[in-house]
Amino acid sequence: MNSPLAVSSDPPTPDSVARYLARRRRHCWLIAGVALLALGALLVDVATGPGPYALRDVLHALIDPAGASRVLRVVVWEIRLPVALMAVLVGVSLALAGAEMQTILDNPLADPFTLGISSAASFGAALAIVLGLGVVPVAGTLLVTGNAFVLALCAALTIWAVNRLRGISVQTMVLLGIAIMFFFNALLGLTQFVASAEELQQLVFWSLGSLERASWDKLGLGVLALGVTLPVFLHAGWRLTALRLGDLQAKALGIDVGRLRLRVMLCASLLAATAVAFAGTIGFVGLVGPHIARLLVGEDQRVFLPMAALCGALIMSLASILSKLLIPGILFPIGILTALIGLPFFVSLILRSRREGWG
């Protein structure tokens, strides 16, 4: 081995640095490529739907709303664009939440709903749909959304509070999440038991996931949730990457693992709660999006997070397009499609990958 002091005053650039920079450039190109795909899918999503509008007309209405006919303007800006953007927002939120849940729980099978968040949200929705009860003072269409959001956050806060009081391990955190899931599933079952046939149908449809309830107001709230959580994730980027080395190694690097884990868990839960409140339970995106990103760019959070978000957006946009095309005139539940689209993609990537560990 070379001397520990074998560093000249003007050393040549080591070969490993050049290769690392080439690898980074490759990752950036991959991110740009997936971003372009996601943008293309978003535009196709806006252009897809009932009504005889060509892609060119839709793009024209997007770029120059004043130059489009009033009907087309309303179709594009009031109906299709909020739904398409909600697909992107939900995809980004779920994929980011899933990526961070997998990181902090050190579990490749973790997803945004691992800690019982979807069960709590479903029970909140059931309270509104079946019993007309609101846990927050809102009314109308926001009652279901408000209930789902608050109950989902309650699930996350319960784990946070127990952790603050007792200082629990990751394993205990996951087990507590499973207990919360069973608890809310039992309450949901009870609500379903007393529901009428019509209410039950409404509840089932909500739980299958739908983007139809999208609106500009909800999009604004979703962006706000991203605005609150993204800076936390980005600021903790190096520390979250270090967490993948294991708790002991992360502590050796001077990281307060317990505090970081709780903070990120709350932020990921906020994203998951927002997504589930606006679009119902949409599974698989939060699991498969991060896995695809990991296979493409690894786990350096500086590239892993944007790639996971873009993968989530792409999957959701593709699912949204398919949900409109599968049975013309009928909007297929998107939660079913995300699984159908994501699963083969995921399996093919796993089979092609020769990586060890999580890959």
């Binding site: 650039t13 490993s16 640095v17 690392y20 350096d300 990586r355």
Partner: protein, 260 residues
Amino acid sequence: MSLVIEHLDCRLGGRAVLHGLAGLRARPGELTALIGPNGAGKSTLLRAIAGIVRGEGSFALNAEPLAPLSLTRRAERLYYLPQETPSRAVLSVFEAVLLARRTRISEAPAAALARVGETLRALELEPLAERELGQLSGGQRQRVAIAQAVIREPRLLLLDEPTSALDLHHQLQVLDWLTRLAAERGVIVVVAIHDLSLAARFARHIWVLKEGRVAASGAPGEVLTGARLREVYAIEAHVEWPADEPPRVTPLAPTRRLGD
């Protein structure tokens, strides 16, 4: 200027693991070996100094008491290299070493990259720079972990069995490199190690632990005697100090057999 342990207690899960360790000193520029049988408290001692487990008492680095400092503050001064090396993270060797640098030192990205490149070259890890941690052998991961340790430029390096997964060539190479690192940069290096011949050869000072207590502390020639090895390890051993060759500690037999 050294690591001084005047008094250190540590309890884990309600059980006392370290009992009033005292009289331990490790000096800059030297390699200090920490030896003792399994369960003697070697890892716990290193972790207590690093703040990973809670140690109580009076212990200081360069006259600065460590006990009041948080884990994060201590990591600015020292680095603890765990015995277990990570393998599941989907990170390249270069990224893993860069991570160790960036969680410690704020500097221009280009400077950090250059430093990583230099460290990988110094440890002959350049050919592995793009390989992922999961694709490395245990010994290669251990060398990456050593690169992560030294790139943080700590004043105190606490290494928990850093050669346990290395072949004979790399054991000698790494310990020789650490000895020179200590001498040339004035770093305090404390190495928990099981190979007593290597400890005798490379260390200037040896701490011996048994059942959470200090059994001995001093120069290798004073500490590594047949009587002490019988007392601490329950073995009969032959200790040689040839004039022209490295010292040799040859275990001969356990003083009691399993089932006796």
